[in-house]
Amino acid sequence: MNKKLNYKIYRSDENMERSTKRILAIVLVIAVAGAGLGIGLWFVFAPQESIFETPGVSGVSDDRLIKIGLLGGITEIQGEGNYEGAWLAAYNINQAGGVQVNGTTYYIGLVAEDTDESNPVLDVTKGVSAAEKIIEVDGAEYIIGGFRTEALKAYVEVVMDAKKLFLGTGASTDYFCGNVYGEAYSSYTRYKYWFRTMPINSSALGGSQITIMAYLGGYLSAVLAKPVTKVAILREALDWTIPMANALNTYLPYYGFTIVADIQYPITATATDFATYWNQIEGLDAQITIPVISAQGGLYMMSQYAALQPQCLIVGIDVQSQLDTFWTDTSGDCKYETIMQSVHRTNKSDLTIAFWDDFVATFDHEPLYTAVGAYDSVNLIADGINATGSFKAQRLITWLESFTRSSPMIGKSVTASHIAWNPSHDLEVGWPFGTTLYCQWQADGSKHVITSGNLLYPDSIVTGPISLPPWGIND
């Protein structure tokens, strides 16, 4: 009897425990389901606070914003430059009282999404999803950015699908502008939203390189009292270098140059590989080497150049070398390298030096070309909205298209005193339009603009003489 009772008590205890647990479980399930549903609904329906950053002003309501989206690899130099340039422009505009449209004041709002495109291990889904997010969720009306062609090729389509204005600040490939003035008119209607504000396209870069070579060939021959004709090309094996290399290979011989080597190295090349390339170049007695490099290859190239001291001058493209940190990164090995650079602290336009100093004061380093492009782009958008009194992409496109070679926009840009676009929405080139500067690293760690013999840009903006490496130039 007793035993049975005990058993009963035990059973009821167990039942109690079970039912408590059960109630707890039900509560838990309801709580989790409710919370999940709530969070889900909140994500979708909640009126979100503005995620736009308004440099220089605060407390601007959402309907007073000019919403600009910045796309780029934010953690890497090009994307960072894009962001900094846009930020500075927005700060200046907002501080100065914003943009007046039909009597109402609007302010620049910025939002950035990371496309992770500078990552050597590229995942294009990041770019596509960043572009979709910046348009569909963040609500950006104008897009600024883009750097790596492969990634941009994917997400430019997203922006074109959404019919948003896209000002490119980083990619030099002809491809994107080619789309605008492309195969068919339908191509224009789809891709007309794309404009390039930076840099000048790769064929124009090739043209500039040929021009400076023509000048340098004569100059060096005169200074060194020997013919300087032997040229080597050292370039990354990536598609964007092809048009430039083709131009160089085709046209340099007309100026009396011989291309002694055209080395395409894989982007995985190491320091030892570069030592090999320099020995090859030196073995062929090259007098000028033209690098066409956007990635870390430039670092190896310069460290091996400094160690091996091949008797040639380096004049070309090396994106990393545009950064002022390149000096410390190479421990000063970059001296005597001459590179293309869109902007330096010189009067490229009346605004350039002021911008430069402002930028350095704000960010404590020199601007990369994407920063200059983004700075100009934000100003362009603000000016356009101001001028047309409209936020519509189509109105802005018409406005931008109205600046042609014969009727340029003057004195509004940091990169050039005259700005205009050709029918493919690419920058018009050639002083006083878009042009590239040639800047050379000096032995004291400074960089200055060297002369192009008045061919690319006037000598009035030159800030220093050409220095030759003390170890000489090959015969």
Binding site: L24, T75, E113, D114, V121, S129, E150, E157, D239
Partner: protein, 340 residues
């Protein structure tokens, strides 16, 4: 055993095996089955909640990679062939699909089919080293083959034929309508999963699993390893190819990047996050991965950093993936709710 003695035990055997016909019905009554059905219904209803391209885009990416991860899981989990080069099939199909859409103006579904079939052909090719190599060697060989594809397609010298470092672009999306695109991907995902799970449960699946458990024993049982390994590679390649083609269309093009070991690792990470040899675990892993990636994308600096930490913790403390433990916990709670 002669056929003569076979007839002896017939009646008894029949009894034992009856009921397998209503397998699906039974399955749908299990906890797991019900949960799966709820999840599927949930996925079907998502577009009612939002038609935003971006949100649907996350789901679409997750679905594409579910198929991709499942194709790896099929090969590694069922057949025991651990491939580190799954991106080969993914990439080649992406290229072929894009090529047919862009230059031969074929409709997307035909291009996708052709792309996947070329993937199958590559499956056959890649399967051949698998006949000679085992374990880590197979893993490394497939990874190296993937790198060869990557560098070949990247090579400037082959640019006129293979598209160079920038690949093929301007591929239109399946549909301009995001919701339609979503449902098409959903159908692809569900169909692929059903087929893969069905193969896993079929007789051929039994043979695959026997090869995984003991290849020598399988051969001693009269199984033609060559044939079955190749078939497994081809099936896996087909579904990786489907994923690759969808990926190319979703991202409007392909570039040599699709051959990077990165994507092979994505597949491995997702499948093992969910749980190897479960197929549906791949979906869990893939959704988890992409949601996490997007959730953290607000803080671009730390996003992948945090993800790496999560990955380490999951693998360290739940080495067989999270699908099974999560299901068990859920079932426990559910049983309690029902008062069982």
């Amino acid at each position: 055993m002669s056929a003569k003695s076979l007839s002896k035990g017939k009646g008894r055997v029949k009894k034992k095996l009856s009921g397998s016909k209503s397998y699906l019905l039974n399955w749908s009554k299990t906890f797991r089955g019900r949960l799966t059905i709820i999840c599927l219904i949930g996925l079907c209803l998502i577009p009612l909640l939002t038609q935003n391209r971006y949100y649907l885009g996350i789901f679409i990416t997750a679905m594409i990679f579910s198929i991709f991860a499942a194709s790896w899981d099929f090969l590694a989990g069922f057949t025991g062939q651990v491939s580190f080069g799954q991106a080969i099939f993914f990439g080649i199909s992406g290229y072929i699909t894009s090529y047919f859409i862009r230059y031969l103006y074929l409709p997307w579904w035909a291009s996708l089919l052709i792309g996947s079939l070329v993937g199958v052909a590559f499956g056959l090719l890649i399967g051949i080293p698998a006949l000679r190599l085992k374990g880590p060697y197979l893993g490394l060989a497939t990874m190296v083959l993937g790198l060869i594809m990557f560098y070949t397609f990247l090579n400037v010298k082959f640019e006129p034929w293979l598209g160079g470092s920038e690949g093929i672009s301007k591929i239109p999306q399946i549909s301009r309508n995001a919701v339609e695109t979503y449902y098409i991907h959903l159908i692809f995902m569900i169909t692929s999963f059903l087929i893969l799970i069905w193969i896993g449960k079929s007789k051929m699946g039994t043979v695959f699993k026997s090869i995984r458990d003991d290849d020598i024993g399988a051969e001693a049982s009269g199984i033609n390893l060559t044939k079955y390994k190749l078939i497994a590679f081809m099936i896996s390649a087909f579904f990786a190819g489907i994923a690759g083609g969808l990926f190319a269309m979703h991202n409007r093009g392909v570039n040599p990047g699709v051959f990077q070991p990165l994507y092979s690792f994505y597949a491995i990470v997702m499948a093992s996050l969910g749980g190897i040899a479960t197929i549906s675990g791949s979906a869990l892993g893939s959704y988890f991965f992409w949601f996490a990636a997007e959730l953290f994308s607000e803080w671009p600096d730390v996003s992948v950093f945090i993800f790496a930490i999560i990955l380490i913790l999951v693998i360290r403390f739940a080495e067989h993936g999270i699908l099974k433990p999560v299901l068990e916990r859920l079932k426990d709670i559910w049983d309690l709710v029902l008062g069982k």
